[in-house]
């Protein structure tokens, strides 16, 4: 419901700038939840998080508490985490196993894994003569309107209508293809751990940072320098420092001007890709062994195609940042206009040698854990943005960088050569935002 004081949405977004209220107005946030997060495809989790019948995990879709559950027949359902009786949540834990059916802790109503009613205590006598009964659809646990799975990654949409998942993802589904194809068995499985970190800033600030190639060498200078110092010291003593140091030191050794050499690709629905490979194809014996196993599984030619896929990471609007070459993703759960939860997961390439997993694990620990040496400074900047945008010191957020020079090809908009720091991905996200919000000019 659009409240009276919300400014005309169409005036909030221009092709190269955005009004500050878009990040700070709680009413606009509510509208975003209703029109974006509770309509489009939102990532719920990976099927391997719920391997056995009755396994469930809870997840927030927009403002809705949902539960993703594996049914006895193997299907994965996404239900509202709400008993139809008096409204109690059915699952109070983050994850667990519900057994052969859900059982509400309040009055013992039970439900099958697909949400259909199984039993109500003393149902015949209790509800005779009332308009409540087994055939009443309100007796069922409500299900997400649509649930689809792409290569094991489960998404839900709370709207009946709209494009199918693959159509919605478009070319950006390469995030999952790139991740899964790197596995000799063609699929990944979740590492059973979720790091959860709250950012005190609007959800869009995080997303806009994901393809912001201008920020790494500035924001992460301190960690990049520190890692590089130690990396050189180790090299002096042993000749070779572990890859983890390179992953960190790149933030300073790739200087600000070099980031222009990266490319960004922007797609419909707000999805974008940042290219650039973080040196993950070294010639050490572990990598060579992995490449041998991969070639055995899919052939030499295909192996080369897979390993030369040029992706740093992929942003799937409105809430998923996937680093496919490192098998990690961050799911964004907006909590309020100025608070955002990130859920950070790591996946194992099935069939790949153990060292390949460990290499990515080092990145997961160093960059994505709650003791991260990288995101610490991002979160500080996000908070500062949120504070600054709440002020009357200016009305607009600028996305002008290289505006007008982006190259449109087919469905994609590409940053011009040598202009990788273009703010095209931010412009693309706000374009999608305006479309979803009904705020197009």
């Amino acid at each position: 419901m659009q409240k009276a004081h919300i400014p005309n949405l169409a005036q909030l977004v221009e092709p190269d700038r955005v009004r500050r209220e878009v990040y700070t107005d709680p009413d606009i946030f509510d509208l975003e939840m209703a029109r974006i997060h509770e309509r489009v495809w939102v990532y719920c989790g990976h099927a391997s998080q719920v391997p056995n019948p009755g396994d469930y995990c809870t997840v927030q879709v927009g403002r809705q508490p949902m539960v993703m559950v594996r049914a006895t027949d193997g299907a994965v359902h996404v239900l509202y985490n709400r008993c139809p009786h008096r409204g109690a949540m059915l699952c109070g834990d983050r994850h667990g196993n519900t057994g052969a059916f859900f059982r509400c802790s309040y009055h013992a109503w039970t439900f099958h894994h697909d949400g259909s009613l199984r039993s109500i205590p003393m149902m015949e006598s209790g509800y005779a003569g009332t308009r409540w009964g087994r055939d009443n659809p309100d007796c069922q646990v409500r299900s997400a309107a649509r649930v689809q799975n792409y290569r094991g990654f489960v998404f839900a949409s709370l709207a009946e209508d709209g494009p199918a998942l693959e159509a919605f993802l478009g070319p950006a589904k390469i995030a999952f293809d790139d991740m899964c194809d790197r596995a000799p068995e063609g699929e990944v499985e979740v590492v059973p751990n979720c790091f959860r970190v709250v950012q005190n800033s609007n959800w869009k600030i995080f997303l806009e940072n994901q393809l912001d190639a201008l920020h790494p060498s500035v924001t992460h200078q301190s960690t990049g320098r520190a890692a590089h110092d130690v990396e050189l010291e180790i090299e002096r003593h042993t000749g070779k420092a572990p890859l983890a140091y390179h992953m960190l030191s790149a933030f300073s050794t790739v200087t600000i001007d070099k980031w222009d050499n990266f490319r960004t690709l922007s797609y419909p629905n707000g999805h974008c890709i940042l290219t650039g490979y973080m040196g993950l194809r070294p010639r050490d014996s572990d990598t060579l062994e992995y490449e041998r196993v991969l070639a055995e599984a899919c052939g030499e030619k295909r192996k080369e195609e897979i390993l030369t896929t040029d992706i740093h990471h992929v942003l799937l609007y409105p809430g998923l940042s996937v680093q496919s070459p490192l098998q990690q993703l961050r799911a964004v759960r907006p909590l309020s206009v100025d608070r955002t939860l990130t859920e950070i997961w790591h996946f194992r390439l099935k069939g790949a040698p153990e060292p390949i997993y460990r290499r990515a694990l080092a990145y997961y620990n160093l960059v994505n854990s709650p003791a991260t040496m990288i995101n610490a400074d991002d979160l500080e900047n996000f908070w500062k943005c949120q504070q600054g945008l709440s002020s009357q010191g200016g009305d607009w957020v600028s996305f002008h960088r290289h505006h007008g020079s982006d190259i449109a090809r087919d469905d994609a908009v590409e940053s011009a050569p040598g202009r990788g720091t273009s703010e095209a991905p931010m412009r693309n996200q706000m374009k999608a935002w305006a479309q979803f919000m009904g705020a197009e000019r």
């Binding site: 709250v198 110092d229 010291e233 620990n365």
Partner: protein, 214 residues
């Protein structure tokens, strides 16, 4: 060396040859943060492998407690290099992602750092462009419930409980849990082979992140 996995990919990621990265530069930067003098913590007294008499046991208990208090003092005093120097060359600081984990090897960890990675963390927080370190920031550790769980010829395992209050900008956070210190008797005194930190709120949502060791 005692560290179990020597491959480059083993976590902690830098377990190649520990403590190669203790350049004088980092000393200097630690000094700028107020760590000007060396600390004599955990100075061992001569003792048999097992404290035979109650008096020996008391002395050991006292010594270990003093070591833990001194360690807390170094952290609260931001004397990072002195803190790192409490670790043996193969020492590891580990905060498991799950209390069930028995090793950092091959599983996610909140921290899994040998001396080299600890040096990275120290150098980061001392760098003038560590933006998140600019605001007022400080901690206060209280350590107690100190129990010596295992006594071996040159090593002991010590369990303790900690409570750490942190102030950052205007926000106060509390972290609490248990330490397990595996201490080795060396010529310099007790040194940490492993500091395992099981934070009770380790698996809770983090409002912002942890920047240094708890």
């Amino acid at each position: 060396m005692a560290v179990k996995k020597m491959t480059n990919e083993a976590a902690p990621a830098s377990t190649v040859r520990s403590s190669v990265a203790r350049p004088s530069g980092s000393r200097k930067s630690a000094a700028t943060a107020g760590a000007a003098r060396r600390v004599a913590v955990g100075k061992t007294i001569a003792r048999p492998s097992k404290p035979a008499k109650p008096a020996d046991a008391l002395a050991l208990q006292h010594e270990v407690e003093q070591f833990l208090y001194a360690q807390a003092n170094l952290l609260d005093g931001k004397r990072w290099q002195d803190y790192i120097d409490l670790f043996t060359d193969d020492g590891v600081y580990w905060m498991p992602a799950s209390p069930e984990h028995t090793t950092w090897d091959g599983v996610p960890s909140i921290f899994a750092e040998d001396r080299n990675l600890m040096a990275v963390r120290m150098k980061r927080v001392l760098h003038p462009d560590a933006w998140s370190q600019r605001p007022l920031w400080g901690t206060n550790h209280v350590v107690g419930n100190v129990m010596i769980e295992r006594v071996a010829p040159r090593e002991i395992d010590v369990r303790s409980r900690f409570h750490m209050m942190e102030l950052r900008r205007d926000d106060v956070r509390h972290f609490a849990g248990s330490y397990l210190h595996r201490l080795r008797s060396t010529e310099q005194g007790w040194r940490i082979v492993l500091q395992r930190v099981d934070m009770t709120n380790a698996q809770a949502i983090y409002d912002y992140v942890l920047q240094v060791w708890v």
